[in-house]
């Protein structure tokens, strides 16, 4: 393996590694616009010029593979490189509009950051603002993207993304010289379902998010790392929120799960939380709305406990959700199996256990729109092949069910399936005593004996296990509305009523219990998840996405 030194720091890397990658590994910031780890390097922005001992002129770090013994100096250490990068940055700015006050990129803009860098920025402008080349502004490119070609630095990241990743090739450059302009043919709306990523990969304010447009200045945003709950892929993302409201979702790079991408449905999924009215107070049938949590939990357990028949199976229909976190599911499973004898316990509304293995497209999206189906399956919540919501309904209609405990989260991506809602409604109507834990007001839950408001995605922390068995931690960004509580807390309460151990108070503790209870998770910890991609499925730890690969690659 070649051994090279960058700014006097030695590093050994695999053959074929690019200088810029080696520098990144050393944590040395090499300024760049066109280079992106998940796109083919093109070396056109010339911002990553570095000097290599023995080379007559500065060379681009993003296309030059390391050679053993190479001695590299970045602009931070080398005068030649510094002069080169200063020059390139000045060129990039001579025709850049003075838009920062109205540009959504401001605050997370490479041009701004680099210009403010003492090593290669802070030059005095030599051009009159009136002289700049004018191009077209505020061009609407469909539901996701707004294009401002004047701000474009022509790094071609977007062009390569639409050509290599989505294969739609909807963006191209036209003209020549300093008249070159980024353009979608006839300004047509971008059709590919991953267009939102263009706003992320654009290093400047040329391609910005239409949904986030003018909402907030980015420096006001608080950031929480999380996992997309839109489907069973479990793309890594960051929740940007301000004073308790989610403003946008942006992908986090994870080469093993979603590279740097996020589908538009996932990106917009947070809007689903506010789309319908939320359930904010525990509600008991008959008695108006005024039920406090303690009474509610007590009543719930009381009613459920009452149906137990000594020596005989309990006629309880317990329906968990494949959208719940592993920790919630463990408590649900524990409460049901520790309190009742042979109840109907399942997590399927439909065919989740089959859909979880089906792709929706060749890039990220999967047919199963639940984030944690694999986790639920690993917990044995779909043990009975004939189980699921529909059989429960059938039995309830046959009068074979005395009580129902339902945990339900509306999907964040795609509309709720009316048939499923109808089935739920029927189940609730058909059983004499029903406890519903859910996030939103819903017709189907009207007749429930007890409706308990729980926290939705982004309002509680926990782990999800994606289709391929990668266990990932999702943080809590905002507080649940009203009196809503994390489902884990509610189930813990029920366990307490049952005189059982209510589970740990922190997510770490609850996950340790999961690791202890479920062999697949043995030896894992929350802290460990962050550092490595733990795959618990299939058990031998083979990563299916390894073979599946991604579109356009």
């Amino acid at each position: 393996m070649p051994l090279i030194t960058i700014d006097d720091q030695p590093i050994e890397v695999e053959t074929g590694t690019l200088i810029i990658q080696a520098a990144d590994r050393l944590g040395i910031e090499v300024p760049r616009f066109c280079y992106h780890p998940d796109l083919r390097p093109e070396g056109n922005c010339r911002m990553c010029l570095v000097e290599v001992q023995g080379y007559p002129r500065p060379t681009v770090a993003c296309t030059t593979p390391v050679v053993d013994g190479m001695v590299v100096r970045t602009p931070h250490a080398g005068d030649q490189a510094r002069r080169a990068v200063r020059g390139v940055l000045e060129f990039l700015l001579i025709n850049h509009p003075l838009d920062c006050p109205i540009c959504d990129q401001a605050g997370e803009c490479s041009l701004q950051d680099f210009y403010m860098h003492p090593d290669y920025g802070l030059h005095r402008s030599q051009v009159d603002p009136q002289e700049k080349v004018r191009k077209r502004k505020a061009i609407d490119l469909g539901p996701m993207i707004v294009l401002d070609s004047e701000r474009c630095v022509l790094c071609s990241r977007c062009v390569r993304f639409s050509a290599e990743v989505t294969g739609t090739a909807e963006l191209q450059f036209v003209n020549r010289g300093n008249q070159v302009e980024l353009k979608a043919f006839e300004d047509r709306a971008l059709t590919d379902p991953y267009a939102g990523n263009l706003a992320d990969i654009c290093p400047v304010g040329a391609l910005t998010s239409k949904d986030f447009r003018f909402k907030r200045r980015v420096w006001h945003l608080a950031r929480t790392d999380s996992i997309c709950a839109g489907c069973s892929t479990g793309c890594n993302l960051r929740i940007d929120h301000f004073q308790g409201t989610i403003e946008r979702l942006v992908p986090r790079r994870n080469p093993a799960v979603n590279q740097s991408w996020l589908c538009d449905e996932g990106r917009m999924s947070f809007h689903a939380l506010g789309a319908a009215p939320r359930l904010t107070k525990p509600r008991a049938q008959g008695t108006g709305d005024a039920v406090n949590w303690d009474d509610a939990v007590a009543t719930a357990h009381g009613g459920l406990h009452a149906i137990r028949r000594p020596g005989q199976p309990s006629r309880l229909a317990a329906l968990a959700s494949t959208s719940a976190t592993n920790e919630t599911l463990l408590l649900f499973w524990r409460y049901v199996s520790e309190t009742f004898t042979a109840p109907l316990l399942d997590c399927r509304l439909g065919q989740e256990d089959r859909w979880v293995d089906e792709r929706e497209d060749t890039l990220l999206r999967r047919r199963d729109k639940h984030p944690n189906t694999r986790g639920a399956l690993l917990l044995g919540l779909a043990a009975d092949p004939a189980g699921g919501l529909r059989p429960m309904v059938a039995q309830a209609q046959a009068g074979a069910i005395d009580a129902a405990l339902i945990l339900y989260y509306p999907p964040l991506v795609g509309a709720e399936d009316p048939a499923t809602l109808e089935a739920l409604a029927t189940l609730v109507r058909a059983v004499p005593f029903s406890v519903v834990l859910t996030t939103h007001e819903g017709e189907w839950g009207r007749n429930a004996t007890l409706a308990l408001p729980i926290a939705a995605w982004s309002e509680e922390e926990g782990t999800y296990t994606n289709y391929a068995g990668v266990v990932q931690y999702a943080g809590k960004a905002v507080a649940p509305p009203g009196e809503a509580r994390a489902a884990a807390a509610v189930l813990g309460g029920l366990l307490g009523q049952a005189g059982r151990y209510p589970g740990g108070s922190t997510v770490q503790a609850r996950f340790d219990e999961l690791a202890a209870a479920v062999p697949a998770y043995a030896g894992l910890t929350i802290a460990g998840l962050a550092s490595r991609q733990a795959s618990v499925y299939p058990p031998e730890g083979r990563l299916p996405y390894g073979q599946e690969g991604f579109a356009g690659h």
């Binding site: 090739a169 909807e170 191209q172 036209v174 003209n175 043919f185």
Partner: protein, 155 residues
């Protein structure tokens, strides 16, 4: 319906086979389209995109890279005056004015009747006849209004 003549389509088909990639035929296709349609506008771009199985954006991007491919229709005859350094030093400026007067249109313009387009082009490699002028693909040698007129009339 096809925007291009059968023989053009045949040539494009050959070009697709000649190179390692089908997209290699795009340049030829653009030239033929420009010659037959006198422009590569929206309709032409979409047609070529379908023909060569490319995205319209890609076709437009390539089309708008080259000087000889024009978005707006050009005249039936294109007079190209060289503004290269050699021709400049031999009075292309004066020639430009003379031609403007003779043709009634300035550089970059097309006559109202859509017959003649007058362009200034970069060095066309006819420097020994500076200031050099072309009519379509023909080198006319040194640019004199009379000479250009004659050439225009004989078509």
């Amino acid at each position: 319906m096809s925007l291009l003549s059968a023989e053009s389509l045949a040539i494009i088909a050959d070009a697709r086979r000649a190179g390692p990639s089908a997209q290699g035929a795009l340049l030829t296709a653009l030239r033929l389209t420009q010659r037959e349609r006198r422009q590569v506008g929206v309709a032409e771009v979409e047609y070529l995109a379908r023909l060569l199985d490319l995205s319209p954006a890609v076709v437009e991007g390539v089309a708008r890279f080259y000087d000889q491919i024009s978005r707006e229709p050009t005249g039936r005859q294109v007079v190209s005056l060289c503004r290269g350094i050699a021709c400049y030093s031999r009075g292309a400026g004066a020639a430009s004015e003379a031609l403007r007067a003779a043709l009634g249109v300035g550089p970059g313009e097309t006559t109202a009747d859509g017959r003649i387009t007058f362009r200034l082009v970069e060095c066309i490699g006819d420097c020994d006849h500076a200031p050099a002028v072309m009519l379509d693909d023909r080198f006319l040698g040194a640019a004199t209004p009379a000479g250009v007129r004659a050439a225009l009339d004989q078509g």
